[in-house]
Amino acid sequence: MTDAAPKPKRKNPVARTRLPTLPPASRSRAALGLARAAAEGRFEMQACADCGAVQYPPREVCGSCLSERLDWREVANGGALIATTTLRHSNDAYFRERLPWRVGTVKMDAGPSAVAHVHEDCQEASRVRLALKLDRSGQAVLHALPAEDTPNMNDSPQLRETHCDPKHRRVLVTDGRSTLGRAMVKASLDAGAATVFVGDPATWKADAGFDAFVASDPRIEPVALDVTDTDSVDRLAASIGAKVEILINTADHLRDGGVMHARDVGLARDAFDVNVLGLMRLAQAFGPTMCFRAADGTHGAVAWVNLLSIHALAALPARGAWSASKAAALSAALTLRAEFGGAGIRVMNVFPGPIDDEWEQLTPPPKLAPSAVAAAVVRGLRDGVEDLYVGDVAEELRARLRDNHKAVERELGG
């Protein structure tokens, strides 16, 4: 049985910080199909459209009938663990620092055999569940998990290497005054976060509700943070940058209005200042320190979360300027993902549908409760996904985009 991960000890300030290393990242293009599934927490394998044979490792043509029509398909994730070994030696620096390491051979119910990381609670020669997870290099790997959940199973050190669990970590929620921001703080505390720094973009504006909220839990630390003010961002990073292990960017500037009929670009500039340049200011101020601390102890810096919108992928003309800022933020976030990649910090992009808050008063239901979005974000961090679609509206839009993005353009514009 897995031991609960203990609270990290106070860091010895004179000890050399462990520098981040990554597991082997090189993959064939076909194998990257696994990454697409793992990024969203699905379990997919390559399967032949002609003969149905499931392929692993991924191939260019079907190993059974030689057809080139290979699809990715959700398949049964059960299997039998038929051999295991515990590595006490590795040729790779990342694993060397994390030995011993358990791997095994799983005969998948779907057909092929696969080498997988093996959870410590898996008995020898037992049934297992396979999961596709992103490792610290951001590549998909198979983890064999016990057939039934076991106590504290997510605290297993090997599995934690794929997760970004807020438990015992220090979280910065960049805007805690918004409804969603507060929900995010609460969900992080409920998940066992050690400290939640709550950004306050308007310290000059008294808000008794906010004051009561920050007083409600000793782990909450309010901090002044205006993402449109470079000095403010830099000051905060200088003060707490070395303590932030998960940064959740909830700052947003949602206003109605399209492009052509706005009298000027003032609204658009404000949206971009918060949603795009704010993200960049935060990245410049907090990113490098988080990278340095990516392998710092058992609870190093691990994730950067961007609260985007499904409209980052499909413009909503009624909120055209805002949609453009979210699309630009997504683009910046993808660059950030590449830049954080070298340290193994996960960039999780969250694509919710409309949220039930003061800025979406006129949006018809279904709307997401802010607490539901926050709970999904925590779940996503625990599962280690990097793209998170939250709610029915987001899921539906995504499916429609995949099906016919030209239809989505016309329908959202109508």
Binding site: P57, T105, V115
Partner: protein, 390 residues
Amino acid sequence: MSRRLAYDGVVAAMPVTVPYARYSTHAAHWWLGRALAALIRESGIAKADIDGVCVSSFTLGPDTAVGLMQHLGMSPRWLDHIPMGGASGVVALRRAARAVQAGDAEVIACIAGDTNHVDSFRHTVSQFSRFAQDAVYPYGAGGPNASFALLTDHYMRQYGATREDFGKLCVAQRDNALRNPHALMRKPLTLAQYLDARPITDPIHLFDCVMPCAGAEGFLVMTEERARALKLPGVRIRSTIERHNAYPDDPIQFRGGWAMDRDALYEHAGVSPADVDFIETYDDYPVINMLQFEDLGFCAKGEAPAFVREHGFTIDGSFPFNTSGGQLSVGQAGAAGGYLGLVQALRQLTNAAGAMQVADARIGLVSGFGMINYDRGLCSGAALLERGTA
């Protein structure tokens, strides 16, 4: 199936070894060049008279056998490059023998060699194959140790082999190696030392692992007539087999391609396992020896542990085996490891084995195994060899 031709009129001769070194600052070209030079020097054949060359090497890159020919100033009319790791020796032999038999070449030099820089092994392992890169190396980067640990774990669980059984083979091989001047392992090994060794990847412990090193091996293939004229003792080829990606539906490897082809091997050779005087297997890990005992017909599947308990495996034992000490005690010089058993068998059958000589050895069996492309060794081969009359 049409009847296979016998290997009439062709012999293998002139086993040479370029003494191994743990690490080398030279390139693979140096080691292969030394092997070719040794073949020429010791056989008395003129360099220009070698009109066929067969090469195996992991560390020759970016060159292939072609670039090596310019490097070595050779102009062969027959050239082969065999990237089959541990099966390279047997496969080189059978390709060369047929070429000589058909008259495509008269004298073929078969050479295999690799260098070993301090970082070579990690380099080779991390880029070994596409499937390994996609689906094995990211899982702990244990290299072949991890892959063979899984096969060993499964075999032990399935067939009841114990570490003592594997240890008996390793200890016998070390005993043989003490008579081999080329072996890198020079100290005796006891069963207690074997059992007490540190674990590497359970159930593989230190003495189950080969030591990567630099080295080269070589031999010549020519007509019997030519060998006689050169006064070179030749070894006849009774039969050979090779097989690739055998039993792809086995969920994990517990048998190799030999099991598919052994009946054809013995039938073609006109001998039976009982006629074999010694055997040289591919021994990158002891469990693979057991697979070869079974799949080559010395005992039934799953009975190798009992077979090991019944026999002695030293040069004077009841089942002389890996008489050079094998890779486990000589060292694994990359692709040359796929030649080690064959070159040693040629020594045994030409009375050139010195202190390692198996008394009255007439028939030898050499077996090769190579290339863990994903989760199992894909290439298997074997050759039944007979002492020549010349």
